[in-house]
């Protein structure tokens, strides 16, 4: 390959990066729905997360890419895996019956609507080409500062609301965890009562 051609090919990495990342995302997504084993599905989900992180980097959103990997791949899917492993993966899922009435037709409708929306948006906005307005090309060092400035000024209310939501979730988790203890205690109390009954 000519050096100039080579340079031209890597100086404009948008399309190549996009196609590669999109293929990774799609492969992961197909893996999630086609794997029989839930652990393999979770791993495919991680692959999708990685593809999305690459797409973020391609858009100069470096910070979002890092957060995508740390939060989604590093924490949330790890929790999925914990739950799957603790509940036991040897049990096969029942695919035959619907748990909600009309679940499948509704899912199909939602899928078609989502696809239509994406196609509609694709008429005006493209992932490749022009980059996000908040992060000018070649100055991605300011990315984090810009996100911080936006979050703590323009989007302060949603940010704080999210924080409150998370605190509520934590409180609920703690409450539920402590309730189990009292339930055990009650159970033991009733056992003790039964023991007395036996004594009599």
């Amino acid at each position: 390959m000519e050096p100039s051609m080579f340079a031209a090919a890597i100086a404009k990495p948008d399309l190549i990066t996009f196609v590669a990342a999109a293929l990774i995302v799609l492969a992961g997504a197909f893996g999630v729905i086609t794997s029989r084993n839930p652990v393999h599905s979770a791993l495919s989900l991680v692959l999708t997360m990685f593809g999305i992180a690459i797409l973020f980097i391609e858009q100069d959103a470096q910070f979002l890419a890092a957060v995508q990997v740390i939060v989604y791949a590093g924490a949330i899917v790890v929790l999925f895996l914990f739950v799957i492993m603790l509940l036991g993966v040897d049990r096969r899922e029942v695919f035959g019956r619907e748990f909600l009435r009309g679940q499948r037709p509704l899912a199909a409708v939602a899928g078609v609507v989502g696809l239509a929306e994406v196609l509609l948006l694709a008429r005006t906005t493209w992932a490749t080409g022009a980059h996000a307005a908040n992060a000018p090309v070649g100055n991605s060092y300011n990315n984090v500062q810009k996100i911080a400035a936006e979050v703590f000024s323009a989007y302060l209310l949603p940010f704080e609301a999210t924080a409150v939501l998370l605190v509520i979730a934590v409180l609920a988790a703690v409450y539920l965890a402590r309730r189990v203890v009292t339930a055990n205690a009650e159970e033991e109390n009733s056992e003790a009562v039964q023991g007395k009954a036996v004594d009599r």
């Binding site: 890597i10 393999h40 791993l43 890419a65 791949a73 590093g74 790890v78 991605s140 060092y141 036996v198």
Partner: protein
């Protein structure tokens, strides 16, 4: 603050070659370093235990690791019958690749000029910098977890659950102490973190983050990093008495070698990260000679000191119990790291704010400690009452049933 040429958009073939050479050199150096560090650890710990240690292969046993590596290569590769074959084969790479990638952000020296190009002595200087380390350490949790789960065996699963719970919990404390450094520097880039630590107070004390932040974040990071590495005294994941070999029990041959390799690579990377974040990285006095050599030497000396520290701790301290480990992480390190982060933030605004916050948190800490102590006492009382209540039912002397 320099920028990595890869992110500037002007990419020429020269830049690509420089990046490739950097990657190759870093890879080779890391491999040799791992070999030497394994030898160093074995030799040092045998000194501390009054033994001789490896002394057959090469001078002072230097080639022992190489011999072990060759042996592992030629051993039979076993996959357990009940293993999930795909995940079992994938797991070692999920540990190895993050270990390799995490090392790329470490600045090992200053800036060198070759053939008209300015080259930073670090593989990459991405804008997200130190976040890459956190991302990679959260990815390596997958390797550990999958290794244990896919083995299809009890002890590896228990080891993996312990290891991943430990890694996930200590990541929070680690992230909070990193946040203090980032807050002071105003940038995530490791290069910027290092350059901001150049200079000295009163021409005597180096202006390193360990002094600028107070020693607390450094200590928290050191403890959290040790836990993150699953090194003694936090190596419950491979507590032989309880769990055989932990999540690597079923691994043999080259796959085991990959786990072993990445464990030591991580130890090197973490030592280097501590040096970068808190001890000025390659910062140090220039004592004459070519100017590019001293930063590299200082970096190696500081990193070596931490590797020595890890071996020393392994020889000196007993292993923690699991509940002690979790208590230390969640009840001590995370609250202290969070409070110290807020104090540092206050200091950034003004001294008065910082000191006021410090006093408030010290008082709050004392109250919390008192509350926990009282809770423990009443908790143990409640437990005693419960056991007492249970006694009649569990009494084996009484006849069963009616």
């Amino acid at each position: 603050m320099g920028q990595d040429p890869l992110f500037l958009g002007h990419i020429s073939i020269g830049v690509v070659i420089i990046v490739l050479v950097k990657v190759l050199v870093a890879f080779a150096a890391l491999m040799v370093a791992v070999m030497l560090v394994i030898w160093f650890e074995r030799k040092l710990i045998s000194d501390m235990q009054n033994r001789i240690g490896p002394n057959r292969a090469g001078p002072w046993g230097l080639l022992q690791t190489l011999a072990d590596g060759i042996k592992l290569f030629f051993k039979e590769d076993l996959i357990p019958d009940k293993a999930d074959r795909f995940a079992f084969k994938l797991a070692p790479y999920l540990v190895l690749v993050p270990a390799l990638v995490a090392f790329t952000i470490i600045p090992v020296g200053g800036v060198v000029h070759i053939f008209g190009h300015t080259v930073q002595l670090q593989v990459a200087d991405p804008p997200i910098g130190i976040l890459l380390l956190l991302a990679m350490s959260s990815i390596s949790v997958y390797g550990t977890m999958l290794a244990g789960w896919s083995s299809g065996s009890k002890y590896p699963l228990l080891g993996a659950v312990r290891a991943s719970a430990q890694m996930v919990s200590y990541e929070a404390a680690m992230g909070l102490s990193v946040a203090a450094v980032v807050l002071l520097t105003g940038s995530l880039s490791t290069r910027a973190i290092v350059t901001s630590q150049a200079g000295s107070f009163f021409h005597i004390f180096p202006q390193w983050n360990i002094l600028r932040l107070g020693v607390v974040p450094f200590l928290i990071f050191l403890v959290a990093a040790t836990a993150e590495l699953n090194r003694p005294p936090f190596d419950l994941t491979e507590a032989e008495q309880e769990l055989v070999g932990g999540y690597v029990t079923e691994y043999s041959s080259i796959r085991f070698a990959l786990f072993f390799l990445s464990e030591f690579m991580n130890a090197i990377t973490m030592s280097a990260v501590i040096v970068t974040l808190f001890l000025g990285g390659p910062d140090g006095p220039n004592l004459g000679g070519p100017s590019f050599i001293w930063p590299i030497l200082w970096f190696l000396i500081k990193t070596g000191a931490f590797l020595f520290f890890y071996v020393w701790v392994r020889a000196a301290l007993p292993r923690l119990r699991y509940d002690q480990l979790m208590d230390l992480g969640w009840k001590l390190l995370i609250p202290v790291a969070l409070a110290w982060l807020l104090v540092v933030a206050g200091m950034q605004v003004s001294r008065v704010y910082g000191l006021v916050l410090f006093v408030i948190f010290a008082a709050a800490g004392a109250v919390l400690y008192r509350a926990i102590t009282i809770g423990r006492e009443t908790g143990s009382e409640a437990e005693v009452i419960m056991t007492f209540r249970k006694l009649p039912a569990a009494d084996p002397i009484r006849p069963e049933g009616d």
